[in-house]
């Protein structure tokens, strides 16, 4: 599904974030990416989304080199992703309207797919995410949880085969966060969607990622991976396996930092 081949990336006048970095994601896998602030978690996500381009190396999605955002990749960010001047319903249908705006050109929108009944689709997604009553409200008028649900609905309405999320639940209160984590885990189990979620929370990473990619302070040269096959099942959070994996991940994260700190 996803393959990074000796990818290098740096921001101008800074230490390279990735150097000859290689990583592979198979179709239908769920990955969590963790690491300290500034390690390049979000940058990696933007690279995968085609919003930033690698300095050298190649990023392949479904075997094709990624040069720009592809229509079947969905992206959900921590905040500020919704248009503040549009209602939640308008926000949820934004992707569909963008596709209709271009027509099925195969570049901006999937080819061979005519967008119909945008409103009907939008309402269905609002309902699915429990937003039926607030479709006419503006993002500034609803809670953070409702905003994030709307952002999810907007992305899911595009029927993505790859869902990228950058700290999607970081600014939410605990109950809202847990219900959305559950929703994502369920969705991932039901569909064959590939999931990559960036998080700073060890618990969230272990809860949602069947595999966890650990990034260190830059430059990142190789992918450190923890297998976590139990993730996504309904009562995993109560099991001893979950606790052990959390502890192991914490330890690995600490190691990375100490190595960098002393070297």
């Amino acid at each position: 599904m996803l393959e990074l081949r000796s990818v290098s990336f740096r921001y101008p006048q800074q230490t390279p974030i990735f150097e000859q970095f290689a990583w592979k994601v198979k179709r239908g896998e769920s990955w969590a990416i963790v690491g300290p602030s500034g390690c390049g978690k979000s940058t990696l996500l933007y690279l995968l989304a085609g919003l930033k381009l690698a300095e050298s190396g190649e990023i392949l999605v479904e075997g094709a080199a990624l040069k720009k955002p592809r229509p079947h990749t969905g992206l959900v960010l921590q905040d500020y992703g919704l248009l503040p001047w549009a209602t939640l319903r308008e926000n949820v249908t934004l992707g569909l309207r963008v596709h209709r705006f271009y027509g099925p050109d195969g570049i901006h929108a999937p080819s061979g797919k005519v967008i119909r009944e945008v409103e009907v689709q939008g309402d269905a997604w609002l309902e699915r995410l429990g937003l039926t009553g607030v479709g006419g409200q503006y993002p500034g008028q609803v809670s953070g949880g409702q905003r994030q649900r709307a952002a999810l609905a907007r992305t899911l309405a595009m029927e993505p085969d790859l869902l990228l999320m950058d700290e999607p639940f970081a600014s939410l209160d605990a109950p809202t966060r847990e219900s959305l984590q559950k929703f994502i885990a369920q969705l991932q189990a039901e569909t064959s969607m590939t999931l990559v979620i960036v998080t700073h929370s060890v618990e969230e990473a272990v809860l949602l990622g069947k595999k966890v990619l650990i990034l260190d302070l830059p430059p990142n040269r190789s992918a450190r991976v923890i297998d976590n096959p139990g993730a996504g099942s309904s009562d995993y959070a109560l099991s001893s396996g979950y606790q052990e994996t959390c502890a192991r991940l914490r330890q690995k994260l600490g190691q990375g930092l100490i190595q960098v700190g002393s070297g």
Binding site: L51, Y80, G81, L83, W85, V98, H108, Y138
Partner: protein, 243 residues
């Protein structure tokens, strides 16, 4: 502002005016009912023509300012490099009171509508440019990223993000500058023209000494400013409900 409260305020202004007129008993301050009578009699004819001439000049300046300042503001707001290049120039030109350029503009463009429209345009242009630029620069990169991830290229970003984002800036700029624009309109209409409310007010007051008509002109000019202000205000309420 509710219509009822505005009517109360208008009634108060009229009452003070009427009281002063009765107390002073001077020809230079006719009672409001005399002025209103002149206004009603004159507006379908002579005063109406002058009103339309003034309206055309302000409306044309507004339209041209929006058409030129909005794209320029969007480009500067989105390109840090271009903004760095032009910022000192704008910083220098923005605070200059454009009305002092009136004689210069008239020398270059001649004594016609074009020079009058140009002077008002200069005032509106910078105000809209600066507000739209700042609005476009304040758009968070996260917002652009997430809309791009939905497949939006340059055209869709313009249609779905930049354009709606700068509507409040345009309307705010208009609301803030309408007062100045009408004031400058008065000044430029004093100079070598036969039409316009500025000319009408001046001729009635200083040449014909017909004070009720002069005040009718003042009233027309006030209504022009007020009408444009409420138009911008109404559009802002209609299109910026999210704010």
């Amino acid at each position: 502002m509710s219509a009822r409260r505005l009517l109360v305020a208008a009634a108060f202004v009229l009452a003070v005016w009427a009281l002063l007129a009765v107390l002073l008993r001077a020809p230079i301050l006719p009672a409001p009912w005399l002025v209103l009578k002149e206004f009603v009699l004159e507006i379908p004819g002579n005063l109406g023509r002058h009103f339309l001439a003034s309206l055309w000049r302000v409306a044309a300046s507004m339209a041209v300012s929006i058409l030129l300042a909005v794209p320029a503001g969007l480009v500067l707001g989105q390109s840090q490099r271009l903004d760095r290049l032009f910022a000192p120039l704008i910083y220098l030109l923005y605070p200059i009171p454009k009305v002092v350029l009136a004689p210069v503009v008239m020398l270059f463009l001649g004594i016609n509508d074009l020079s009058k429209i140009t002077i008002i345009f200069l005032i509106l242009f910078f105000q809209i440019l600066v507000l739209v630029r700042d609005q476009a620069a304040a758009l968070r990169p996260e917002l652009i990223y997430s809309v791009r991830s939905l497949g939006a290229g340059r055209r869709a970003l313009f249609r779905f993000v930049y354009l709606p984002a700068c509507v409040p800036a345009i309307l705010t700029a208009l609301r803030q500058t309408i007062g100045t624009a009408v004031a400058v309109l008065y000044v430029v209409e004093l100079i070598a023209t036969q039409y316009g409310l500025g000319y009408y007010i001046y001729i009635q007051g200083n040449t014909l000494f017909d004070y009720p008509k002069m005040y009718a002109g003042v009233l027309a000019m006030s209504l022009l400013g007020l009408g444009l202000y409420y138009l911008a205000d109404g559009l802002q309420k209609r299109f910026c409900r999210w704010m």
